[in-house]
C-alpha cells in the first residue's frame, strides 16, 4: 500500500492548488483574456474536435481576427476550465453544458449575456430549437449558443436476444416488466446497467419521475422547493424503480459493472443482456466497440409510457446540447459574434452529422440523410422535435456541488443501502445554488 512516490505526489497536489490560487488572484485584477490579438476557443477534447477544427479554418479564411482552437481531454475538462477561467489564459469562447453548469460562471460575473448579439442577428436564437436554446438561459438571459449535437436518452436493445426470449420492444411499463420476466427466465440479464459509474443509474430516475409526475416536479425541486421530493408522485416513482430492481431487471452485480470501460456496452453487444438505457451517443459507442452488432442487431425505442402518469409520453431526458459561452472580458466581441453564426451554417450541420452528432438547428432536417446512419438520425430527430419537454440530466441541471451526493444517493437507493425516505432526505439536502 505504500511507496515513496505517494508523499511527493500529495505535495505536488498542494502546489497545484496553491499555484491556481495565486494565479487566479492575479487574474481577477489584471483581467481580460489572452492578449495576442486572436480569439481562443476552448472545447472538450474528443473525436468531435475534427469538426471544430474545420469550422475554425473556415472562420479564419474571412476574418481579420483569427481564431485558435484549444482542447482539454474530456475527463479533465471541467477542472482545468475552472482553474484557467479567471486567469489571463482564459478562453474567449468555451464549451459548456446546460444551465446548471453555466450558472456558477454567471454568478462569478465571467460570462457575457448574449442579448446584444441576438439583437444584431436574431438568427442566433431563431435558428435553434427553442427547447434546446432555452436550456442555456440563466435568470432570463441567454448565455450559450448550441454547438455539437443533442443527446436524448433512449432505450436500446439487442434484437436477437429479444427475439430469442419472445419479447417485443416494450411500449408500456407493464410490457417492460413482462419482458424482464421472460428475459430472466431465459438466463439473460434483462437490463444492462453500468451502476459502477453511478450516472447511468440516474437516467432511470429521470425518466420515471418525468413519466409519473411530469417535468414540473423536478423543476420545483430544482428551484428550491424541497417538499417536491416528498410528493406522492416522487414516492410512486421510487417504489416502481424498486419494483423493477427487485424483479431482477438489472441482475445482482450492477454495482460492479461500468459503462465507461465498455463492460455494460459489451453485455448488450455480446448477447448477455437485453436492454440498456443510455444517451444517444450509445449508437456510435456500439459502432466503435462492436461494428457488426451495431449495424445488424442494435435496436432503439423511446422510454416506455406509464399508465396514469402525468408526464407526456413524448417527453425526453438527457443532455439538450453543449453550448458556446462567451467570456465577458473578451477583447474581440465582434469576431466572437461572427464565429458563433457559423453554429447554424450548413457546413457545420453537415460536418456534425458526418461524425454521428445530431445538431439542433432549424436546418438540421435537410441534412438527415447525410448522417452516419440516416435511419437513426431521423428517429432521433423526430423524438427531439416532438418532445414537449426535454429535461436536462439532473446532475447537470443542479450545480456541480450537488453531483457527488446525488450520484451516491442514486446508487445507494438502487442497491438497497437507502430506503425511499433516506433517498428523499438525501435529495432534499442537495445544494441548489
Amino acid at each position: 500500500m505504500t511507496i515513496r512516490a505517494r508523499l511527493p505526489r500529495l505535495i505536488a497536489g498542494g502546489v497545484t492548488l496553491g499555484l491556481t490560487l495565486s494565479l487566479s488572484a492575479c487574474g481577477s485584477e489584471s483581467g481580460g483574456s489572452s492578449n495576442d490579438g486572436k480569439i481562443h476557443v476552448l472545447v472538450y477534447g474528443d473525436a468531435t474536435n475534427k469538426v471544430e477544427k474545420q469550422i475554425i479554418e473556415t472562420f479564419n479564411k474571412t476574418s481579420d481576427v483569427k481564431a485558435v482552437l484549444d482542447t482539454i481531454p474530456g475527463a479533465d475538462y471541467q477542472q482545468k476550465l475552472q482553474t484557467i477561467i479567471s486567469t489571463p489564459q482564459a478562453p474567449d469562447v468555451f464549451f459548456n453544458w446546460g444551465a446548471g453548469s453555466i450558472q456558477p460562471f454567471v454568478k462569478a460575473d465571467l460570462l457575457m449575456p448574449l442579448d446584444d448579439f441576438i439583437k444584431d442577428d436574431p438568427g442566433l436564437k431563431d435558428n435553434f430549437l427553442p427547447s434546446v436554446f432555452n436550456s442555456a438561459v440563466v435568470d432570463g438571459k441567454p448565455y450559450g449558443i448550441p454547438m455539437r449535437g443533442t443527446q436524448p436518452v433512449l432505450l436500446f436493445h439487442n434484437s436477437k436476444v429479444l427475439a430469442d426470449a419472445g419479447v417485443q420492444p416494450p411500449k408500456t411499463w407493464d410490457e417492460l416488466l413482462d419482458a424482464v420476466k421472460k428475459l430472466k427466465a431465459k438466463g439473460y440479464t434483462p437490463i444492462a446497467l453500468g451502476a459502477g459509474d453511478q450516472w447511468p443509474t440516474l437516467m432511470w430516475f429521470e425518466y420515471l419521475y418525468d413519466r409519473i409526475a411530469g417535468p414540473e416536479l423536478f423543476q420545483k425541486a430544482l428551484s428550491g422547493d424541497k417538499s417536491a421530493w416528498e410528493a406522492p408522485e416522487s414516492k410512486k416513482a421510487l417504489s416502481m424503480l424498486k419494483q423493477l430492481a427487485d424483479a431482477g431487471a438489472f441482475g445482482t452485480n450492477f454495482d460492479s459493472v461500468k459503462y465507461t470501460n465498455g463492460a455494460s456496452v459489451a453485455l448488450v453487444s455480446r448477447g448477455k443482456a437485453g436492454f440498456e438505457l443510455m444517451g444517444s451517443w450509445y449508437y456510435s459507442q456500439q459502432q466503435q466497440d462492436a461494428k457488426e452488432f451495431a449495424e445488424k442487431d442494435l435496436g432503439y425505442t423511446t422510454f416506455p409510457t406509464i399508465d396514469g402518469g402525468k408526464g407526456d409520453p413524448n417527453d425526453i431526458v438527457g443532455n439538450t446540447n453543449n453550448f458556446y459561452s462567451v467570456l465577458k472580458k473578451t477583447k474581440h466581441p465582434e469576431a466572437v459574434e461572427k464565429f458563433l453564426k457559423l453554429m447554424y451554417s450548413d457546413e457545420f450541420v453537415k460536418a456534425q452529422m458526418a461524425v454521428g452528432n445530431l445538431t439542433t438547428t432549424a436546418n438540421t432536417e435537410k441534412f438527415l440523410d447525410t448522417a452516419a446512419s440516416p435511419e437513426y438520425a431521423h428517429f432521433q430527430y423526430d423524438v427531439v422535435k416532438k418532445a414537449p419537454s426535454f429535461q436536462l440530466s439532473w446532475d447537470q441541471a443542479y450545480p456541480q456541488s450537488a453531483s457527488t451526493p446525488m450520484h451516491q444517493a442514486v446508487q445507494q437507493f438502487l442497491n438497497g443501502q437507502l430506503d425511499a425516505d433516506g433517498f428523499i432526505k438525501a435529495m432534499q439536502a442537495l445544494p441548489n445554488e
Binding site: M1, Q82, V257, Q408, N415
Partner: protein, 318 residues
C-alpha cells in the same frame, strides 16, 4: 562497528580530511558537512512543501469554487468538515485500509524477502518475475484489476464457486478487500526488496554459531533473522503507513468511493470536494486535517518503534 563503517568512504566531507587514514582515527577526523549542503533541499522543501501548506491553510478559511476570488468565511469550512459524517467515516476507512495494508503486507514481504535473499535454485528468475508489479503505475494496476474483476467478463465469471455473482465492487467488505488485495499485489514486491537487502546483510557467522549450538530453521528465523531485521521492519512499516494514509489512485479508478460512500477514504474525499464539487475551501480543510493526522501518527510510530534511537545491529561483531 568502526571497522564496518570505515570500509566505505564518506559521501560528503571536505577534501583535506577525506584522505584515507589508518582505521580507527578516520571517523573522528572526517569533517562534518557544513550547512550549505542542506541548502538546496531546504530551498525546495520550503518552496514546494511549506509554502503550499501555508496557502492551503489560508484557503481552508475561504470559500472558493475555482471561479472568481475566494471569500473569507472564517471557520465555516472547518465546522462543516468536522460535522460531516462522511468525513468521520472516511477517516475510519483510511485507518482500516492502512492497518489492513500493514497487517497483510508485512508478514508476506518478510517471508518473501528472507526467501529471496537465499541461494535456492531459480530464485533469481522467480524474484525478477515477482518484482514486475513494482514497475507498473498505480493507475495501470487499477485499470488492469478493474477489468480482471469484471463480474461478467473477468475472473469472477469463470470462478463462480469462489466469487458468487461477482459483485465485488457492490459491497463494502469485498470492495475494501479488493483495495487491500490490489495494494498488496502492487507493493509487497517493494517491501520484499527492502527485506531482501536487509536479510543479506545479516552476517552469516550468526547462523554458523547458532548451528553449532544446535538451532533449527525456526529458531534461527525467530532468534536471528527477525531481530536483525528490526530496523528494516520499522522503515518498511513507516512507508506502508504513509502510503496507506494517502491511498488514492486505486480508489479513484477501482471504486470511485462506492458503493455509496463505503470506500470514500479521506484523500479521495478531499479530491471529490475539490474537483467534483468545486468546494476548494472544504477540500483544503480536509487536506490540512490529513497533514495533522499523518504527522501525529508518524510521531507515534517513531516513538513507539524507537526509530529515533535506532541503533546499528552490528554491535559485538567487529
Amino acid at each position: 562497528m568502526t571497522t564496518q563503517m570505515t570500509s566505505t568512504p564518506p559521501a560528503a566531507g571536505n577534501g583535506k580530511t577525506a584522505r584515507r587514514r589508518p582505521d580507527g582515527s578516520y571517523v573522528a577526523q572526517v569533517g562534518r558537512p557544513g550547512f550549505a549542503w542542506a541548502l538546496p533541499a531546504t530551498f525546495f522543501f520550503a518552496v514546494f512543501a511549506i509554502a503550499p501548506l501555508i496557502m492551503v491553510a489560508v484557503l481552508s478559511f475561504m470559500s472558493w469554487n475555482g471561479l472568481g476570488s475566494p471569500q473569507w468565511v472564517g471557520t465555516d469550512n472547518w465546522s462543516r468538515v468536522l460535522d460531516d459524517p462522511v468525513m468521520i467515516k472516511s477517516i475510519w476507512l483510511t485507518l482500516l485500509v492502512t492497518v489492513l495494508g500493514v497487517a497483510i503486507q508485512t508478514p508476506l514481504s518478510i517471508l518473501l524477502g528472507v526467501w529471496a535473499a537465499g541461494q535456492q535454485r531459480n530464485r533469481a528468475v522467480l524474484s525478477v518475475i515477482y518484482f514486475i508489479p513494482l514497475l507498473l503505475s498505480s493507475t495501470a494496476v487499477s485499470v488492469l484489476w478493474r477489468a480482471l474483476l469484471d463480474p461478467n467478463f473477468g475472473i469472477p465469471a469463470q470462478a463462480t464457486w469462489l466469487f458468487g455473482d461477482g459483485n465485488l465492487f457492490g459491497k463494502q467488505a469485498s470492495a475494501i478487500g479488493v483495495l487491500a488485495f490490489v495494494a498488496t499485489w502492487q507493493f509487497t514486491p517493494f517491501h520484499t526488496l527492502i527485506y531482501q537487502g536487509a536479510a543479506r546483510a545479516i552476517p552469516s557467522v550468526l547462523y554458523q554459531a547458532a548451528e553449532i549450538d544446535g538451532a533449527g530453521r525456526y529458531r534461527k528465523f525467530f532468534h536471528i533473522t527477525l531481530p536483525q531485521l528490526r530496523n528494516s521492519i520499522v522503515t518498511s512499516m513507516i512507508l506502508m503507513i504513509v502510503g496507506g494514509l494517502t491511498t488514492f489512485e486505486t480508489v479513484l479508478i477501482l471504486t470511485q468511493g462506492g458503493p455509496g460512500t463505503d470506500t470514500t477514504i479521506s484523500a479521495y474525499y478531499m479530491y471529490q470536494k475539490a474537483f467534483k464539487s468545486f468546494d476548494f475551501g472544504a477540500a483544503a480543510a480536509i487536506a490540512l486535517a490529513l497533514v495533522v493526522a499523518a504527522t501525529i501518527i508518524s510521531l507515534i510510530v517513531v516513538r513507539v518503534s524507537g526509530y529515533d534511537k535506532m541503533r546499528g545491529t552490528m554491535e559485538g561483531l567487529s
